[in-house]
Each structure stands twice: as C-alpha cells, then as structure tokens.
C-alpha cells in the first residue's frame, strides 16, 4: 500500500496510485507517436469499466481501448489510444485477432495447394496474393508462363483492383456517415465479382492464378462481359464524384486529416496509395514491371498533401486507370495456352487421363505428392491495391515450400496509423483507419 504523500503527488490524483507504470503514459518524454505499452500495462491503466474516472481526473490523459469489435475498425483491429479529451496523443494498433498461422499452414501444403491458402489473406484482393505466390514458385521452377496466361492474370488483377477500391469507397463512405455510398460501392463491386464468378467459379478466394498459369481459360463471350463492366462503372464513378468528391462535408472530414510526409512514409516502409498520396510516384507496375505492364499505357496517380482526401482521390482515379488497362487488354489479349505445357507442373486435361497412362501417372503424382521445386530462395513482388505485396519463398527441393512468407502491405502500412492519428480527434481517427484501408486477414495472416 502506498502512503498518503505519494497519493497526493500522483499525476492521476488521489486514490489511483495503484496504476503501475503510469509515468510512462503521463510523461511524454519521447516524441514518438507510438504508444509502446504492452496490453497488460494498458489494461491496468485503462482501469475497470465499473470504476470510471470522475471529477478532475476525468479530464486528464486516459487510455482508451477501441476495438477489436468495432464497426469502423475494418474487421478485428484493436487500437490502444492515449487520449486527452477528444484528442489522440499516442496510439498503438494491436493485431493478431485473426492470426491463423497461414505461413505455418503453407509449409504443409503442396505448391499447387498454396494459392488456396494465400488467397485467404487479403480477401478483398485475393488474386494478388495468388499472383505473388505463383510468380515466386515459377521463378524457383524456372518456367515461363505463356503469354495468354500473363494477360489473363493482368486482366483479372486489374479488375480485382477495381473491386478492391470499390470496396474501399463503400467502407470509407460508411465510416464517414455517407451510408448511401456504402450501398453504391457494394453494388458496383458485386458486378465485378459476378464476372469473377463466371471465370473462376467463386466470388472470392478464387484459387485461380496457380503456379504455371491460371486454372481455366476465359469463358466464351468474356469480352462482352468485360465491355459491360467498362460501360457500367465509369458513369457510376462520376456519380460518386457528384455524391462525395465535391461535397463540402465530405471534404471537410477528409482534407488535412491524417497527413503524412514522403520522408515518413518511406521510413515506415509504407507503400501503395499511402506513399503515393504524398506525391511520391512509386508503383511497381511502372517502376519494376512484371507480367506485361510495360506493354500497356496507364498513369500512376499521386496526391499532393498526403492526407486522407488524397488517398480517397487516388483510389477513385486508380479505378479509372485500371479500367483503362482492362480496355487495352481487350484488344491485346493473345491466343494460346492459358497454362504452361510442362507435364511435371500442369495437371493433364481430364480427357487425356482416359487415353494416356502417362497422363494418369502425372495427374496422380501432381495431386498426391505434388511437383518438386528446386532448392533456392526468392522474393517476388506485385503492386496490390494496398501496396507492395511480396512473397518470400524458400524451397528445400521438396514438393512443399520450406518457408513461405508474405509481405503484406496492410501489415506494414498499419504502422503509419499512430503517426497519422497523432494530434487528431477520435472521430478523425475513424477516417484515418479507413483511408489506410487495412485488410485484417492480411495483417494477421
């Protein structure tokens, strides 16, 4: 028990001296925006809900817990906030509520089963995880993907970028109280997902891009379906502009909120729209072209101020750029194989199994043991809607990855949250989380 004198000088006022390392919170001697407290320490400082602070101490700095179950935390993100009144001082994102050990699971799945696992990471843009994984496997295997497969991958990924950004528009609107936008964004996204369902059989978690190519060729009449999307979505984007972009309340909620500088973004390894919102033009599609991005024309959209509004506007315009790429793909799509004709990697067509003993053997080997991948390690990166999505793959020569690590852009970008929210209001915090657009499945993996 502490004595009376200590109680009187306690920064939290009398009666609350049992708070352990309270000086760490109340003395802001470091200039960091990150609240580096363990969960246990924060729980003690936050106090029990049955015993809320009253009187003078209620006006002082407090630790507030936000999430993990909160409508505007995009899943199960939890934030520990150090508040002074309505203002956020320091904060710390607490993650792991959706951790299912997918990197461990990957060590027990063959390379052909791998995409089923990684596709569940970023569930709003599942094709990008499949693509990064497949590209890493293909590098280790040394196989060259046929041109049609490359272009199908590009088509699907750009449409996936559209659907992912539409999801952002929907949730961003919802977080800011523009509930009609939520319905509109979801409506348009569903149109894109309908095309995905036609091609891959599933709306999400496609397992479509696989090592060696894609799972199936595009269906007959896919051009008409894509053209329909190209006609449908741009007018709707103009509607969003009318509804949101020029609207004073919406701009007031976003402009100047959650500002980040290029130096901060680089130091924090932030990529994607967060980095580009600062005016720093870095897009892997243009700067380190993979697939066939060097054969299509598109602009890299950058912002100026690095605030939440720029991140909104960048995503809005990236939808337009992606549709521009899709339009070019319609004309440039080559004919040919949609997967590599390497019997050791690609399962034979169903009809061949009845005719050929070798086809049956290959089919059996690929689906039971899996194909062996030469020893080595590699890193493949793609530009996902959220930033650089990388796959670090180590093979020991066996049919399963020795180690698979996904560099999730959401996971890394989440580190910018404390810096974006520092000094802002808690209501702006919601706008900031939304503008970072984290997908918790990828954060926690």
């Amino acid at each position: 028990m502490s004595d009376v004198a200590e109680q009187a000088t306690s920064p939290m006022g009398p009666g609350r001296t049992d708070l352990g390392p309270s000086e760490r919170v109340y003395r802001r001697d470091d200039t960091s925006a990150v609240l580096r407290l363990s969960e246990a320490e924060a729980a003690v400082l936050a106090g029990s809900p049955d015993d809320p602070p009253t009187g003078d101490i209620a006006d002082q700095r407090m630790i507030l817990n936000m999430g993990p179950s909160h409508p505007s935390t995009h899943g199960v993100l939890r934030l520990m906030l150090e508040m002074e009144g309505e203002a956020i001082l320091r904060s710390k994102p607490v993650i792991g509520y959706l951790h299912t050990g997918m990197e461990k699971t990957a060590e027990d799945l063959t390379y052909l089963q791998g995409p089923t696992n990684v596709t569940r990471m970023d569930y709003a843009a599942p094709l990008f995880s499949e693509l990064a994984f497949s590209m890493a496997v293909e590098q280790l295997l040394g196989v060259e993907v046929p041109p049609r497969a490359t272009w199908i991958r590009m088509l699907m990924c750009e449409l996936n970028r559209v659907s992912s950004h539409l999801l952002f528009q929907a949730t961003n609107g919802m977080d800011l109280g523009a509930v009609s936008m939520m319905i509109y964004g979801w409506r348009e996204r569903e149109e894109v997902l309908r095309f995905f369902e036609e091609v891959t059989g599933l709306r999400m978690n496609h397992n479509y891009i696989r090592p060696g190519g894609v799972a199936a060729d595009l269906h007959d009449g896919w051009q008409a379906d894509v053209r329909r999307l190209l006609e449908l979505i741009p007018p709707r984007l103009d509607e969003y502009d009318k509804l949101l972009t020029g609207q004073p309340i919406f701009r007031g909620r976003l402009q100047g909120v959650g500002v980040i500088t290029p130096a901060e973004a680089l130091a924090l390894s932030a990529t994607g729209p967060i980095l580009r919102s600062t005016g720093y033009a870095w897009d892997l599609r243009r700067d380190q072209p993979y697939l066939a991005y060097d054969e299509v024309e598109f602009d890299v959209i950058v912002g100026t101020h690095g605030d939440s509004f720029d991140r909104y506007a960048i995503r809005q315009n990236e939808i337009r750029e992606s549709l521009r790429i899709v339009e070019q793909i319609l004309d440039l799509m080559p004919a040919g194989d949609y997967r590599v004709q390497d019997k050791k990697v690609t399962p034979p067509p169903r009809a061949r199994i009845d005719e050929s003993m070798e086809a049956l053997i290959h089919h059996f080997k690929i689906f039971t043991e899996g194909f062996h991948v030469p020893q080595g390690e590699t890193y493949a990166a793609v530009e996902s809607p959220r930033g650089e999505l990388g796959c670090y793959l180590v093979s020991d020569g066996g049919p399963k990855p020795y180690r698979m690590h996904i560099r999730g852009p959401s996971f890394v970008n989440l580190q910018t949250l404390p810096h974006l929210m520092e000094g802002g209001l808690i209501a702006d915090g919601v706008a900031v989380i939304s503008s970072v657009d984290p997908i918790m499945g990828e954060v926690d993996r």
Partner: protein, 183 residues
C-alpha cells in the same frame, strides 16, 4: 542493378576475431554476395548486420521492404550460401529497395541457435518495427535495441514460437455427430 562497392575495394580492416575477414568469392559492401534469380543477395555476418544495412542505406536503399526469419533446422542442407559463410539454424532476411535505381538487395545473416539475437534495424528504418516483432513472435529471433520487443500476432502470454520447425502443426480432432465411437 548497380553495385557501387564491387570488388570489395573498400573492405574495412576488420577486428582480429572476425572469422570471415577475407571472403573468398565476390563481395559488395565488404560482405559476400551471391545472386538468386537475378536478385542480389548479401551475406553479412551477424555482428556486421547493422553496419552492412547502414552502408546499403547510405548508398540509396531508402526503404526496408521486408524483414523476416527462417528456421533452417529441418532443411536437408543448403547449397546457396557462399564460401566462408557457415550455416546456422536461424536466418534473418531483409529486403531493401532503392528507388533511384529500382534495385533490390536482400540481406541474409546466419543467426546461431545458442544466441538468437540480431541488432534491430529500427534506428535505420523505423518501418521494420512490426516486422521484427513478427520475427521475434513467430520464430524467436530477438532484436537488440528494439523499442517495443513484444509479441505481435500471438497472445502476449503465449509460450514458444510457432513458426519454428520443431513446433508441430496444430490439429483439431474432427468429431462427427452420430458417428460410432472409435474402436
């Protein structure tokens, strides 16, 4: 991919206890360098981890894109390490990115099981904070000088490091309703 320090001409006179003072093969920034699928891979010893990354940063590698660790205890034997680099159980892997040249460099350092500790890169690249916490959480490689050396994905009171190869894959027994009891 440009290599400003090709040939090891600027090799620092190293301390006498440095066992890999004279790498046999090609070097960059004074450490052995190999190539994997067109990507430059550096192999700094663990005690020169921080200074090698710092030298890369000074040469324009502005971003630490990725940092992770690998447990090689179940690996049948690696062939991609250069001469003079002794394989150890753990390996910390960092990917750096230079925006000026568009080049990437990957650094792999061997970390012994007896002392799994590496210098934190937080002072060079604050963005590695979460990545190092993840590597500590899942593989048990600790990072000295890290400002917040806590678990990130697993619960705080979790024991062990699940991505180590001696931790088995979790299983949930499947129980079917109305199934006859196991005989």
């Amino acid at each position: 991919m440009t290599d400003p320090a090709e040939g090891g001409a600027d090799l620092e006179p190293s301390s006498p206890d440095d066992t890999t003072a004279e790498p046999a093969g090609p070097t960059a920034w004074g450490v052995p360098v190999t190539e994997a699928f067109g990507q430059m891979v550096l192999h700094p010893p663990v005690d020169r981890w921080f200074e090698t990354v710092a030298a890369c940063r000074d040469d324009g590698y502005v971003m630490a894109i990725d940092l992770t660790a690998v447990d090689y205890s179940a690996h049948p034997g690696r062939t991609d390490l250069p001469e003079g680099v002794r394989p150890e159980r753990f390996e910390v892997v960092a990917s750096l990115l230079s925006h000026a040249t568009g080049g990437r460099v990957r650094l792999r350092t061997q970390v012994p099981e007896s002392d799994p500790e590496v210098a934190s890169l937080f002072d060079l690249y604050p963005g590695t904070e979460a990545m190092e916490r993840e590597a500590w959480d899942l593989l048990g490689v600790s990072f000295s000088g890290h400002p917040d050396h806590t678990r990130i994905l697993m619960p705080e009171d979790w024991e062990g490091h699940p991505l180590r190869r001696d931790v088995s894959m979790g299983r949930i027994p499947v129980q079917f309703r109305d199934a006859p009891p196991a005989r």
